[in-house]
């Protein structure tokens, strides 16, 4: 009982709770100011996310959001700011799509081959900024971000010219053949099999982080790179490793989004989805821990699916969900809390949400 009380007290004064309330209040105010009805919008958002086909869609959308959050969190946890999730997802996704479309063979072989191809190309793309930092001392923060625009251009060119489906007016590849599609599981009316993959990744990362030397070493590098180096950890090698794993997951998710959802690689579609950036916000809010990432990812997915329902039924643009998500992170990063502290740095342990290790 005491434990329960202390837990609820902690939740009450937690910056995350406050930030969520703050974000919802601000969102409601924005809706009201722009001429909408915040209560109706909120109701549509909630029912849209969990009732009817909403639950299936929430689970489906959570796959890329959680996946991209895991992808960037691996680097964040080591203090490496990988903003290149988008590029890794897009370029890996196209590689997987090419395999799915052009490789002949039975589905049980094509689907895994396509996923592996996506992961490998995503990892290779992530190696560019990784080696840029370890060999040339170029900050990953900047190079990984700039490479997103290069990845957009490369994939845009490929689907517009060599890979273009000339039978339609869109700049797109051909459709992924039926045998090469990611199967759907018969739960909640059809959720992609990739959900299992994402759950496995969550469990795997949790095990690696809590039970292995590699997990410990990568986190030490995140806390303090210099002391990690003194402790005999090869920081450069770890940098490349975490970037490669993150890029591979990005490529997996990109491939899933085509062979499991869109079925065509349409120019600009993956970028527009914003999954890489939503995932990044999830990783920040969950402080890079796999299980909180899973929960937060489901929550953010629900916000977006609910947002779409709100747009249909209450006439309020679903982009409000994006505003909400960003405001939560801004508020958490400002360490806003009900019990305001005059020494914000002293309670860093408690409020380290939305921090990148010790950046």
């Amino acid at each position: 009982m005491d434990e329960l009380r202390s837990l609820s007290q902690r939740a009450l004064v937690s910056p995350v709770t406050f930030s969520l309330l703050f974000a919802f209040a601000l969102a409601a105010a924005i809706v009201a100011i722009t001429g909408g009805d915040p209560l109706a919008a909120g109701e549509e958002m909630f029912t849209g996310a969990v009732t009817g086909s909403g639950l299936r869609n929430t689970l489906g959308r959570a796959i890329p959001i959680i996946g991209m959050a895991l992808a960037v969190s691996i680097a964040f946890r080591s203090g490496i700011i990988n903003l290149g999730g988008e590029g890794q997802m897009v370029i890996g996704g196209l590689a997987g799509t090419i395999v799915a479309i052009y490789l002949p063979g039975p589905g049980f072989l094509i689907v895994p081959t396509a996923m592996v191809a996506g992961a490998v190309v995503g990892a290779l793309w992530a190696m560019l900024p990784a080696y840029g930092q370890t060999k040339l001392r170029l900050p990953i923060l900047i190079t990984s971000l700039l490479l997103n625009y290069v990845a957009r251009a490369i994939t845009g060119y490929l689907v517009r010219f060599p890979l273009s489906d000339v039978s339609v007016t869109l700049a797109t590849t051909r459709q992924v053949p039926e045998t090469a599609r990611m199967p759907k599981m018969p739960i909640f009316g059809g959720v992609s099999l990739s959900l299992i993959l994402v759950i496995l990744l969550v469990v795997l990362l949790w095990l690696v982080y809590t039970r292995t030397v590699v997990g410990y070493e990568t986190q030490m590098a995140g806390f303090n790179m210099r002391s990690a180096r003194y402790g005999g950890i090869d920081v450069e090698q770890r940098t490349v490793q975490v970037m490669v794993v993150g890029g591979a997951i990005g490529g997996l998710i990109g491939t899933h989004l085509i062979i499991g959802e869109a079925l065509r690689f349409i120019d600009g579609e993956l970028v527009l989805s914003g999954f890489a950036w939503t995932g990044l916000l999830v990783a920040l809010l969950a402080v890079n821990r796999p299980i909180p990432i899973f929960v937060t990812g489901l929550f953010f997915s629900g916000l977006q699916i609910g947002g779409l329902a709100m747009q249909r039924n209450a006439g309020v643009s679903w982009r409000l969900s994006q505003v909400l998500q960003a405001v939560v992170i801004v508020a958490v990063a400002c360490r806003l809390a009900i019990r305001r502290s005059d020494r914000p740095t002293a309670e860093a342990g408690e409020t380290e949400a939305a921090g990148l290790g010790e950046v």
Binding site: G35, I142, L146, M225, R319, Q322, A333
Partner: protein
């Protein structure tokens, strides 16, 4: 061949490409000098572009539009200043989140306020006029490129020497640099780091907001979703490459702008738009590799210790 590519029209389009990047980069430079890592420029520019179009639409005046753009930029900058200076939050996390906030907010307000998706064009939106400076605009080559432009363009070009004087020849500039380089020493001498950092971040908000206004009311007269399309990030790189020095920053910005203008030109010659769009970013990456010895400090800042 050479003369066919490097003509007045090319430099004219390079100037237009440069001004938004330059305005944002000068703001980033002031922050860097005050010891604040400013990576919210992309979002501030986007918010500025939206607010400028909204202001111009409401008041039928491009001047009001520019003021709206600057105010919106300063509002986001205020959140950054409060978070990093007062609350001692992580400037990188805040910068990323504020960029995404600007993306979401402009994407939300566009259909909500103007009932359009993607692009907002309207005869009510008053664009920035080009004002030819009598005499100077008659100079061959340089005249039409530099002296027949919008007010934010002249302001950006004047700010380069003005900020040099401010930073290196004025007492306030000296104190600002002191706050950035030796915050403790500055504080001991009675210079409040809080005041100077707030000032620097707010100034960068006003400048990057104006950059957005130039983008949406000067270069074109419309707002398109995500129309800043990476220019704010290029400005962040320009600050790094230019070592936060006005002359270096303007040089870096000119390089990127020339790449953008060349890309545009090659597009006319049949090169696919996807390739030419990537040109400024490829040039930026190459410039980073060439000048890599310059930013060890940023690397230390972004890799935890």
């Amino acid at each position: 061949m050479f003369e066919q590519i490097f003509d007045t029209a090319l430099f004219d389009s390079a100037t237009r490409a440069m001004i938004p990047i330059l305005l944002a980069a000068l703001g980033g430079m002031i922050c860097e000098r005050a010891g604040v890592f400013q990576i919210a420029l992309e979002g501030i520019m986007l918010a500025g572009a939206f607010a400028a179009v909204a202001g111009s639409y409401l008041a039928l005046s491009s001047g009001v539009g520019v003021i709206f753009g600057m105010a919106a930029g300063m509002l986001i900058a205020l959140a950054l200043a409060y978070g990093t200076v007062t609350r001692r939050g992580d400037s990188i996390v805040l910068g990323i989140a504020l960029n995404l906030l600007a993306m979401g907010l402009t994407g939300f307000l566009l259909p909500q306020l103007f009932d359009v998706r993607g692009v907002f064009q309207h005869p009510r939106i008053d664009g920035l006029d080009r004002i030819a400076i009598p005499g100077l605009s008659q100079i061959p080559w340089v005249g039409p490129v530099l002296f027949d432009n919008t007010i934010p363009t002249y302001l950006a070009l004047l700010l380069v020497p003005a900020l040099w004087v401010f930073l290196f020849r004025s007492p306030i500039g000296l104190r600002l640099r002191g706050v950035g380089e030796r915050p403790l020493a500055a504080e001991t001498l009675g210079v409040s780091p809080t005041v100077y950092k707030y000032g620097a971040v707010l100034a960068s908000g006003a400048l990057a907001g104006m950059a957005g206004a130039q983008l949406s009311l000067g270069n074109v007269v419309q707002f398109a979703e995500n129309m800043s399309s990476g220019r704010g990030w290029v400005a962040v790189v320009a600050v790094m490459l230019g070592r936060a020095h006005p002359v270096g920053v303007v040089g870096a910005c000119a390089l990127f702008a020339l790449a953008e203008a060349l890309g545009f030109r090659f597009q006319g010659n049949g090169l696919p738009v996807q390739i030419t769009d990537a040109l400024p970013f490829v040039v930026t990456l190459i410039a980073l590799v060439v000048a890599r010895k310059r930013f060890a400090r940023l690397l230390d800042l972004t890799t935890a210790g």
